[in-house]
């Protein structure tokens, strides 16, 4: 059984198919139809809701998430706030601003947009979020009617207003978000959700329990944020018989410095590790801002991005360029291996039955090291990379003492470019050596043509990203459209 708070009221749910998304549960079981399905794949944001997750310090973290690809079992111990909490006029400042600015036309994306903005509003501290944060908060909400200008305007207007709900308001807890959530109850229990039809969902809270479950059910599917796994349910119409969630195992969620390394737990979400990783290696920050949308980054985890072994996951290439170490855990205990040895082929990894990703150990920068991470996609926001290039270079007195070049989208797995690395090592860091490295890339990779890009484009861009890295480290020109003011 799971227990959570929906718009101020406690819900207890059991004997339900754990393949059910939060959205399906809301719309079909509760007949709360304010939250919409636009794509059922986490790409449009019409289904956006807010979850409140109790933290260790008694605080509650309020986040906008895609309810269409979040599973019902993930709600245990949380608060769920939907647009249905805001049915009483005059409404939240966000709703009033959206009306005044004509931020809705057909209205179908609107509940999701309202919830994204309400989440941003609830999390605003003493300083009003700037346009940058506003756009980030809306990056996962598609609108086909307005062209966004009035929505952005509505966001600006609402963010300078205060909201003081009455105590009985269904979303009253949001209004107290920054006071530390006095009502937070941390459910420290492991839970199991069963359905009469058979599918089962476990959410253990300790590493030991997780190990035991994995030993007992090696065929079970591991799930964290379900931003990828849920697509098997909503798009391929699969029924997953047994899922084991890692998102409640506290040891897998930590993000801490250990000696020279930053250790990121596999179940840490992008938003949870972004600040620490970007502090160590600032090149991650702009890339992470374009990885998925805020809703995705609130749910997606590092372990998920690595373990699903997609050739176009954005985290593996830069971590491989840095020489990060992967820590695996399982029935036979812990083992470590370089991340690049983890990927065997398309969606094939080194994971043995019952094993799971425990954490990733990221080395800190050393003298003269530089890291460049470049993501290239059709659309700037919320798009999967056509090519992602990540380059770690050690340049001593103008000579490339060491380099690791890794790419996504160029092969069946995230992969290093051995030929291009060899062409650069020991050479001056200049046009000639980069040209030689670019030539070598053609032997390193034979990329595919697919809906995102052609093989020719991928190869050309991969080379040009090396040129960009050279220019970035040797000139002060603005080189990227995202930096152009």
């Amino acid at each position: 059984m799971i227990e959570f708070v929906l718009n101020g009221r406690t819900e207890k749910v059991d004997q339900i198919d754990p393949n059910l998304s939060i959205l399906e549960w809301l719309r079909t079981k509760m007949r709360l139809t304010g939250t919409k399905e636009g794509c059922a794949s986490g790409d449009c944001g019409a289904c956006t809701v807010i979850t409140g997750t109790p933290g260790q310090q008694g605080n509650i973290r309020y986040e906008a998430i895609n309810s269409c690809i979040s599973l019902i079992g993930s709600l245990h111990g949380k608060e769920l706030i939907t647009v249905d909490a805001f049915r009483q006029e005059p409404g939240h400042p966000v709703q009033r601003a959206m009306m005044e600015q004509h931020g809705a036309q057909c209205g179908f994306c609107t509940p999701g947009i309202v919830m994204s903005l309400v989440a941003l509003h609830a999390n605003k501290e003493d300083t009003v979020p700037d346009d940058h944060r506003l756009l980030e908060a809306l990056s996962g909400n598609l609108c086909r009617c307005t062209g966004y200008r009035p929505i952005i305007e509505a966001g600006r207007q609402a963010l300078v207003q205060e909201w003081a709900p009455e105590a009985q308001h269904p979303a009253a807890s949001l209004g107290r978000a920054r006071d530390g959530g006095d009502e937070a109850t941390i459910h420290q229990d492991s839970i199991t959700l069963n359905s009469p039809e058979g599918p089962r969902y476990n959410a253990p809270v300790s590493l030991d329990e997780l190990r035991t479950l994995r030993r007992e059910f090696p065929e079970s599917r591991l799930v964290a944020g379900s931003t990828d796994l849920a697509l098997e349910i909503t798009q391929q119409l699969k029924t997953l018989d047994h899922m084991i969630s890692v998102e409640r195992v506290e040891e897998l969620k930590s993000c801490r410095q250990q000696g020279d390394e930053l250790v990121i737990g596999a179940a840490a979400t992008y938003q949870q590790f972004r600040a620490a990783l970007s502090a160590l290696w600032p090149a991650f920050d702009p890339m992470l801002e374009r990885l998925g949308s805020l809703q995705i980054r609130n749910r997606g985890t590092l372990g998920g991005n690595i373990a699903n072994a997609s050739p176009i996951g954005d985290m593996p290439p830069p971590l491989m360029a840095l020489g990060a170490t992967l820590v695996l855990d399982g029935p036979d205990g812990e083992r470590r291996l370089p991340l690049e040895d983890f990927f065997h082929g398309y969606k094939q990894t080194d994971l043995k039955p019952g094993e799971f990703v425990h954490s990733v150990r990221v080395p800190a920068p050393r003298a003269n090291e530089q890291l460049h991470i470049y993501k290239v996609s059709k659309r700037l926001d919320d798009d999967i990379s056509a090519v992602l290039g990540a380059f770690r270079l050690t340049v001593d007195n103008g000579v490339v003492a060491d380099c690791r070049l890794a790419f996504g989208g160029m092969a069946a797995t995230p992969a290093r470019a051995p030929g291009a690395e060899a062409a650069l090592k020991g050479q001056p860091w200049n046009n000639n050596s980069v040209t030689a490295a670019i030539t070598a890339l053609a032997s390193d990779f034979s990329p595919l043509t697919d809906a995102r890009a052609s093989a020719g484009y991928r190869l050309q861009v991969a080379g040009n990203l090396l040129r960009r890295a050279l220019l970035a480290s040797t000139s002060s020109e603005t080189l990227m459209v995202t930096d152009y003011a």
């Binding site: 959206m98 909400n141 307005t146 659309r379 056509a386 603005t478």
Partner: protein
């Protein structure tokens, strides 16, 4: 007889919310609080079933056998039907035949429905529909426009419009250029997917809730597939979660399937498409292959043009005849072509049948002449803006290649104004100088016009009806044949009604479009919603007013000319009668308080035999100036600023109109930049969801977007309060973005070479234009 307030401006002191005021959408609160109901949100009727279809996995094939046992046996399945189970007509082609509701024998595209399932849940219906085993005998499939052109495979006959002697003019012109382009299609991506709910009536008929721009067509086609007279079927549309043309003909097939299943089971059936099924099974904007051959003098003035436009129609005609016609009508955009020939082909391919999409072929036609404008300018070393301005229609050069005279010349002044307000010349110099020194990033600037013809080119569709009811407390309901898809039609028509009676807008309520209230309605399309329905509603109001004035004159013994309506009162001589009191008195004296209204657009005609006529009542105009920055290493880009000046005549609601302009512009920008429909060689759509099909997201909105309505520009024609249509024209303002991208790339060759840039101009295509420009430059250096 009292003169009604037809086509008069709103008085300065008046009731609130009248026409001309920027009031918010009638559903605004419901939208922001999640209380606006779309089809899938309606309370579920008892015993509701859910539908899904099984569709063809072959682009062109004969079905040899179809084993549906596993489908039937899936838990929850209640009924499975095929073409053989259709009691009435199998073909549901909206204008011409060619669209079987369920394919029988031959399939002609991947995604074509071949059987339908009703089950107790949405999930069960979808899962069951995947279990059929179908044996196909593959037939030759044609996938692209060029393949169809090569094989002369068309869904409808080709058509030519010609004036004068274009061949001679081309031969004699001092300069001559030829060019070709591919213009991509576009998925509508309405956020609410196609959906409907069919409920059997007690008379053996059907009531259909549908998310459709054309309820009357839904009604007619459902009646036909069921073999019933039309009056046994009624359809209702409260609102759509976006339409954009994608729910003009494409909603009816769903309604027919749902109705067939409801008929077969005697139970209500809901049918909504998942996003992937919607993208695979329903039609999109036509992609085009266009060519031009243009002769011009040394200033860039066009002497002759030979233009070909060819649209990928898919497997059936649908609306393609009119869509390619509109591409031909707009192959001149805003320019006088002089001696001209425009040929249009309707190419048949074994892909989904393409359909209406905001602009209806017009945008694709405009693209070829806008490409030519850039090319002429580069050839002559002139600023493309100067070439565009030089070729504008103006008095003396004011007749289109299809013989319609441009009567209201708005664009020359409009473009001059925008050129000044956008600071085009200074920024042109700045951009050029930036590009000389910036090694990687290049900026581009372009200012392009839009002239768009307003009226359905199918003449009979230019009619509308409305019903206006006043209740005894003075509250009013207006109902008309138009449908609400977010464009603000309902609020605009309500404002027209409020203006007619000079009462507060709050007294006027809009109600859902229903085929048993106003019959034989035209689709809400062709930007015509408020032109047609606003006038029909006004007609109804005038009829009521006529009776009210006659009553008041008699009741208060006052001459009719001394009776007027203003600010929620009726002035009877010196007596001010509050609206409620007046209406109560009229009721007690047995005066009719409701009326129907009707409107048919005057003046329009077109002869397809000669390719001449006046297909449009008037033209809507606008222009946009866009600036972009392009990364020449990756082809990535951003639009940094856009200025728009648009002509909506005398606006019925400036806030709603600005929303249409901004939304249309960004939607058009998506069409020309990131929205790429990718098909495999076998005709399978590979971009079947938002993960791979990228419509603009929030950061794509230009950070500096300035939209202004052209002031003091009443429509010369007697449209409703002299307003102009606004739905489609702004989409084509986005051509400025495409032209600015080409401009940025052209800077590589110091603007001497006009780089090819087919659309959508994805980063990949932009990088390819960059590479082509670099190669051109290298060749020039070799020559020198």
């Amino acid at each position: 007889m009292r003169k009604m307030p037809l086509n008069t401006p709103t008085p300065a002191h008046s009731a609130r919310g009248l026409a001309g005021q920027g009031v918010k959408h009638d559903s605004a609160w419901k939208h922001v609080s999640g209380q606006a109901r779309y089809i899938d949100d309606l309370p579920m009727p008892e015993a509701l079933l859910h539908a899904a279809v099984g569709h063809s996995e072959q682009a062109h094939a004969r079905i040899l056998s179809m084993d549906l046992e596993a489908v039937r046996n899936y838990p929850g399945v209640v009924a499975v039907i095929t073409a053989k189970d259709v009691p009435g007509d199998l073909d549901i082609g909206p204008v011409f035949p060619g669209d079987p509701v369920l394919a029988d024998d031959i399939v002609e595209h991947i995604g074509q429905p071949i059987f339908a399932v009703a089950a107790t849940s949405h999930d069960a219906a979808r899962k069951a529909a995947r279990l059929a085993s179908v044996e196909y005998q593959p037939l030759d499939a044609v996938v692209t426009v060029k393949q169809a052109l090569d094989q002369q495979l068309f869904v409808r006959p080709s058509h030519t419009q010609q004036r004068g002697e274009p061949d001679r003019a081309l031969a004699e012109a001092p300069n001559r250029l030829r060019g070709e382009q591919q213009v991509g299609g576009q998925e509508h991506f309405y956020l609410e997917g196609q959906a409907c709910l069919a409920e059997p009536t007690e008379d053996g008929g059907m009531f259909v809730h549908t998310s459709s721009q054309h309820p009357s067509e839904v009604q007619k086609l459902v009646a036909e597939v069921l073999g019933l007279p039309i009056h046994e079927v009624q359809a209702e549309v409260r609102r759509m979660g976006g339409g954009f043309g994608g729910k003009e003909t494409q909603a009816a097939p769903l309604a027919c399937v749902a109705a067939l299943l409801a008929h077969a089971t005697g139970r209500p059936v809901k049918y909504r498409l998942s996003r992937a099924d919607d993208m695979v099974q329903t039609g999109k904007r036509h992609d085009f292959y266009n060519t031009y051959d243009i002769g011009f003098d040394d200033d860039g003035l066009i002497r002759g043009a030979d233009i070909m436009v060819a649209g990928r129609c898919g497997y059936s005609p649908d609306l393609s005849d009119a869509i390619v016609d509109r591409a031909m009508f707009h192959a001149d955009n805003a320019y006088y072509l002089d001696q001209a020939r425009v040929v249009g082909h309707r190419c048949k391919t074994h892909t989904v049948s393409n359909t209406a999409f905001r602009g209806f072929g017009g945008p694709q036609g405009m693209m070829i002449i806008e490409k030519a404008m850039d090319d002429i300018a580069r050839h002559l070393g002139r600023d493309p803006l100067d070439v565009r301005k030089l070729n504008l229609y103006r008095p003396g050069r004011d007749t289109t290649h299809y013989g319609q005279t441009v009567e209201q010349h708005v664009l020359e002044e409009l473009m001059e104004n925008l050129e000044a307000s956008s600071d085009y010349r200074r920024r042109r110099a700045e951009v050029t100088s930036f590009n000389r020194t910036s090694p990687v990033l290049k900026r581009g600037l372009a200012l392009t016009p839009v002239k768009f013809g307003i009226s359905f080119t199918a003449k009979h569709l230019n009619q509308a009806g409305a019903l206006v009811h006043i209740y005894t407390d003075g509250s009013i309901v207006v109902n008309h044949g138009g449908t609400e898809m977010g464009q603000g039609l309902y609020i605009k028509v309500a404002q027209v009604v409020a203006s007619a009676f000079q009462v507060d807008l709050a007294r006027v309520k809009v109600s859902a479009a229903r085929t048993d209230k106003v019959s034989n309605t035209s689709p809400t399309a062709a930007s015509s919603g408020s032109d047609l329905n606003g006038m029909a509603a006004l007609d109804a109001c005038e009829k009521i007013l006529e009776g009210l004035v006659a009553f008041a004159a008699k009741h208060w013994s006052t001459p009719p000319e001394q009776i007027s309506f203003s600010d929620n009162q009726v002035m009877v001589g010196g007596l001010a009668v509050p609206w409620e009191t007046f209406i109560q008195a009229a009721y007690m004296n047995r005066v009719p308080l409701w009326s129907s209204g009707f409107y048919a657009t005057p003046k329009i005609h077109y002869d397809p035999e000669t390719g001449t006529g006046r297909p449009f009542l008037y033209y809507a105009n606008g222009a946009a100036c866009s600036e972009v920055v392009v990364d020449t290493l990756t082809g990535e880009y951003r639009v940094v600023r856009t200025d728009i000046l648009h002509d909506v005549g005398r606006s019925l609601n400036p806030e709603i109109d600005i929303g249409q302009i901004e939304g249309g512009f960004v939607q058009g920008m998506g069409w020309l930049t990131t929205e790429e429909l990718v098909y495999s060689d076998e005709g399978r759509l590979l971009t079947t969801g938002p993960a791979t099909y990228k419509i603009p997201a929030v950061s794509d909105c230009p950070p500096d977007l300035r939209v202004t309505l052209l002031p003091e520009s009443p429509n010369r024609e007697a449209t409703v309060f002299h307003s102009k249509a606004v739905g489609e024209p702004p989409l084509m303002l986005s051509i400025a973005v495409w032209s600015a991208l080409r401009d940025a790339v052209a800077s590589i060759t110091d603007y001497r070479y006009s780089p090819p840039l087919d659309t959508p101009a994805t980063p990949e295509r932009v990088l390819s234009a960059v590479t082509a420009s670099q190669h051109w430059l290298a060749r020039q250096k070799e020559i020198a």
